[in-house]
């Protein structure tokens, strides 16, 4: 058992557990510590320097994401000096970002860079820098890549490596020419990339975005988020369903999902919109004169009940058979077996696990 220790953050005494970072303790305590290169699923990286804090007894501010909490530490997170440094850092990040409309902010919700710009009330005017004009790879169906907006936090590279264990993308070049690329700098479709899309959801800017989520006509704040479970294989990854006016528009991973811990694959991430398919069945159908014809629920229920009763009474309970789905929710399969056993009076029920 880890022992509980105490430290001081912004004048308040707080407890922490061994192994926690100052950033984690400070955020739990409610202090505002901005970050850009931090993602709770990733190892601390310490490249953006935004999470700097003052440590009593040290001459220089330290990055709190890489600083392990120690008993007796006295930390200040919000002094004027720290805020000035952070504000300047945000301005410098902004200076390399294009001034045009960020599609991610417009359609999905404010990206982390622009959120911080609002927080610190700064813009890209003061250090107006050159834009890197990196390549725009648009050949895949899912990932919007616009590296003009890249701020070199490498969260995408690290997610690909640490969370998905794929290592399909890496950092290339040095200085102004640095960037994110696949092996041999080809397109994603020609690389080891599995298009799982997890780089999108860690990216703190509009450099990476979900092509399915942008241009849906949504406004930030209107999107509803509902926790659920992926409908594909038997892994059971936790997903957040994003819906707008009762319609599904996207999926994001649940960061603390017990099975996936914030990882998803290409199907779980992008394979949700079959539910919006034009060819969904919308009415009960009964075959009349050889054609499947739309009817009311009442007519469908009466007709089915009468047919099944006559099968049971004329041919016996074993003349009926029910097959439950291995994809639909369990309440449905429970009901189908109860129906078979308690209404049709047999055990003639199975599910699709045999093929």
């Amino acid at each position: 058992m880890s022992t509980e220790m105490k430290m001081v953050i912004d004048g308040a005494e707080v407890s922490f557990k061994e192994g926690e970072t100052v950033l984690e303790v400070a955020r739990r305590q409610g202090s505002f510590v901005p970050t850009l290169c931090y993602d709770e699923r990733l190892d601390p990286y310490g490249s953006c320097r935004l999470c700097v804090v003052e440590v009593e007894g040290r001459r220089l501010p330290a990055s709190s994401c890489t600083l392990k909490a120690e008993a007796g530490m006295d930390i200040r997170t919000g002094s004027d000096h720290i805020r000035k440094m952070q504000s300047t850092l945000v301005e410098m990040v902004l200076s390399e970002n294009p001034g045009d409309e960020c599609p991610r902010c417009r359609d999905i919700g404010t990206c982390e860079v622009h959120e911080l710009a609002e927080e610190f009330e700064v813009s890209r005017d003061r250090f107006l820098g050159a834009i890197s004009n990196a390549s725009k790879d648009d050949s895949n169906p899912f990932l919007l890549r616009d590296y003009d907006r890249c701020i070199s936090c490498y969260r995408c590279v690290r997610i690909c490596d640490e969370v998905e264990a794929d290592h399909a993308i890496t950092m290339t070049g040095r200085g102004w020419n640095k960037g994110i690329a696949t092996a041999f700098d080809g397109g994603l479709m020609d690389s080891d990339c599995t298009l799982c899309g997890q780089c999108i959801y860690t990216c703190p800017t509009g450099a990476l975005a979900d092509k399915k989520m942008v241009n849906q006509g949504s406004k930030p704040g209107e999107i509803e988020i509902t926790r659920s479970v992926c409908p594909y294989c038997g892994t059971g990854c936790s997903i957040n369903l994003h819906s707008l006016d009762g319609k599904m528009i996207g999926v994001t991973p649940v960061l603390d999902g017990p099975v996936n811990e914030g990882a998803l694959c290409v199907k779980g991430q992008f394979g949700f919109d079959f539910v919006n398919s034009e060819d969904r069945l919308t009415r009960p159908l009964i075959r009349k004169n050889g054609e499947l014809t739309p009817v009311s629920w009442n007519e469908a229920f009466d007709y089915t009940a009468q047919k099944l009763l006559s099968v049971r009474d004329d041919h016996g309970p074993k003349a009926f058979y029910a097959i439950a789905s291995g994809r639909a929710p369990g309440e449905g399969s429970y009901m189908l077996q109860k129906f078979t056993r308690a209404v049709m009076n047999s055990n003639q029920v199975d599910n699709c696990s045999r093929g």
Binding site: K212, R280, S325, R341
Partner: protein
């Protein structure tokens, strides 16, 4: 699974058998890859050089269906090398002396003769498995979809039992379920031999329990399996079927037989989200709501019961599955309770009747932290099964013999065909095929064939071929790849509208589970001219943005 998914990361050794994990269970594969990074050994047993082999310490490319010969040989190596866990065997298993005697002829050399895996590699893998602190076995349908599926599983259980790898962390025998709620469907009693919670239908105590709960007499006899039911439909013993959310026509082996079975019925009800090929044969079609449109639960591979929630509105009159069935039931009986206001009431009834779910409620499955059995409301769940003792006392070691596949290559049908999924196409593609972008990733079906076989047949990449088995034929494009070994070809069944792969697959079944041998069929292959008017090519021509690597 005997163990939970997160534990995989801390295994010392992983034996992955008949599981193309990076394509079929990518997020479980993440755990395997992470374990490898931490220093674990990984051995992949699969006829094909699947992507997981890139991470493996060793790849055992066994001949299709030779699993029992291979794992018996491994068990013998373990015993001969003195690596068996005698304390565990003594305390927790029975039949070890019989097993030891039974395994005498199963030398590594015999294993090599039957499976084609070099004896030295069999020894290496066996020693790595038995010497590891915790070794986990992970398998999928590559083990079960054989006429000897049960023996295959038991041969893996023998390995776990003689090394003490059942009932401890990061070990176990772990089938990865292929669909989101296939575990849940079985848990809820959608099985011909079990009530909810795997309570036996031929046990009078269980019968009485359900008679009391539902207020009507229970049939004391087991039902038949779905596979047998299709036969009974053909011979007229079954007159009516209700199929929920399964595209039986496309996903069962031997499509001609399945079509005949469904067409023989007097009355077919299909409940689905789409007018599938199966639904097109129905007399009544019920429109089902999608998983995003209902409240409910899915139970995953590691027995984790998880809540799903309504986030969107169903189209038109589509309704939740349970609601539809309950309404038909209410019109057929007044004796049984079918008045439910919501899905939670259904779940609570299930939990009240199923000891393994007894400690669960919608509140308790909020985050998906609990794996069954959860017998009481304050029970923390059971991520690891068989800790301390087995349910039925001692683990019985099984004496197993190798049985060859029901079909093997001969002059007329000289190739093995095996089937499976590809990463971006799920099952019969009813979901991925309707989700934007996936058709760009995989626009059509193709036959994977080894370069040496292709050369012999005069096939080039992108050519068209006709694949014929004793049941029928299909035409598809060809991709030349070393993923499949010489003599074995691979197809998925994701494009039924163009290439109905299950026309050629093998309907022979395991006698105990009646699971068909999807993984082995003998086929012949010939080059044919490109057919005209195929759906995929039309789609590709209509959409020039879609690049097809196999058009040549």
């Amino acid at each position: 699974m005997s163990n939970s998914i997160p534990e995989i990361e801390d295994a010392d050794m992983m034996l992955c058998v008949g599981t193309n994990m990076t394509e079929c269970h990518p997020i479980i594969a993440v755990r395997v890859k992470k374990a490898v990074r931490k220093g674990a050994k990984l051995y992949v047993v699969d006829p094909r050089k699947i992507p997981l082999t890139e991470y493996a310490t060793g790849h055992l490319p066994l001949k299709l269906g030779s699993d029992v010969a291979l794992f018996n040989a491994m068990a013998k190596v373990i015993i001969d090398e003195g690596l068996a866990d005698m304390e565990y065997i003594e305390e927790r298993t029975e039949g070890f002396e019989e097993l030891k005697k039974h395994l005498e002829p199963f030398t590594a050399e015999y294993g090599e003769e039957i499976s084609g895996v070099p004896a030295q590699l069999i020894r290496e893998c066996a020693i790595a498995y038995a010497s590891a602190g915790s070794a986990g076995i992970y398998y999928t349908l590559g083990i079960t979809e054989h006429i000897c599926g049960v023996s295959n599983v038991q041969s893996l259980c023998n390995l776990a039992l003689i090394t003490g790898n059942l009932g401890k962390r990061s070990a176990g025998v772990n089938p990865l379920r292929g669909q989101n709620n296939i575990q849940g469907a079985g848990d809820t009693g959608a099985l011909p031999n079990n009530y909810p919670g795997f309570q036996s239908v031929d046990d009078p105590v269980c019968q009485e329990k359900f008679e009391k709960a539902w207020g009507v007499p229970m049939d004391p006899h087991k039902g038949i399996t779905k596979i047998a039911a299709l036969d009974h439909a053909v011979d007229g013993r079954i007159k009516a079927m209700w199929i929920c959310g399964e595209n039986t026509l496309v996903t069962d082996p031997d499509v001609k037989h399945t079509t005949k079975a469904l067409e023989s019925l007097d009355f077919l009800v299909v409940q689905d989200m789409f007018l599938t090929d199966t639904a097109k044969l129905a007399d009544v079609v019920f429109p089902a709501a999608a998983f995003t449109e209902v409240d409910g639960f899915f139970t995953n591979s590691d027995r984790r019961v998880q809540r799903i929630r309504k986030a969107a509105n169903p189209p038109g009159d589509a309704m939740p599955d349970w609601w539809i069935i309950a309404h038909v039931a209410k019109r057929m009986t007044n004796d049984v309770h079918f008045d439910y206001e919501n899905s939670e009431q259904v779940f609570d009834e299930l939990a009240s009747l199923s000891p393994i779910y007894a400690g669960l409620s919608y509140d308790r499955i909020e985050r998906g932290d609990l794996a069954w059995p959860v017998p009481e409301m304050d029970h923390p769940g059971t991520p690891i099964l068989h800790e301390g003792e087995f349910l039925n006392g001692k683990g019985k070691l099984q004496l197993l013999n190798y049985v060859p596949p029901s079909e093997n290559p001969d002059e007329e049908y000289p190739f093995y065909l095996t089937t499976g999924r590809r990463l971006p196409t799920y099952h019969s593609n009813t979901m991925t095929g309707r989700s934007g972008g996936f058709r760009i990733l995989v626009p059509n079906e193709w036959l994977e064939i080894h370069p040496a076989d292709a050369e012999k047949l005069g096939l080039e990449d992108g050519d068209w071929s006709k694949i014929t088995s004793r049941r029928g034929e299909v035409i598809t494009r060809v991709a030349i790849t070393k993923t499949s070994p010489r003599g074995t070809v691979f197809m998925s069944f994701a494009f039924p509208e163009e290439v109905m792969t299950n026309i050629v697959t093998n309907p022979e079944v395991d006698p105990q589970t009646e699971t068909p041998e999807f993984k082995v069929a003998a086929v012949s292959i010939v080059r044919v001219e490109a057919p005209t008017g195929l759906g995929a090519s039309e789609a590709l021509r209509a959409n020039p943005d879609v690049e097809d690597p196999h058009l040549g």
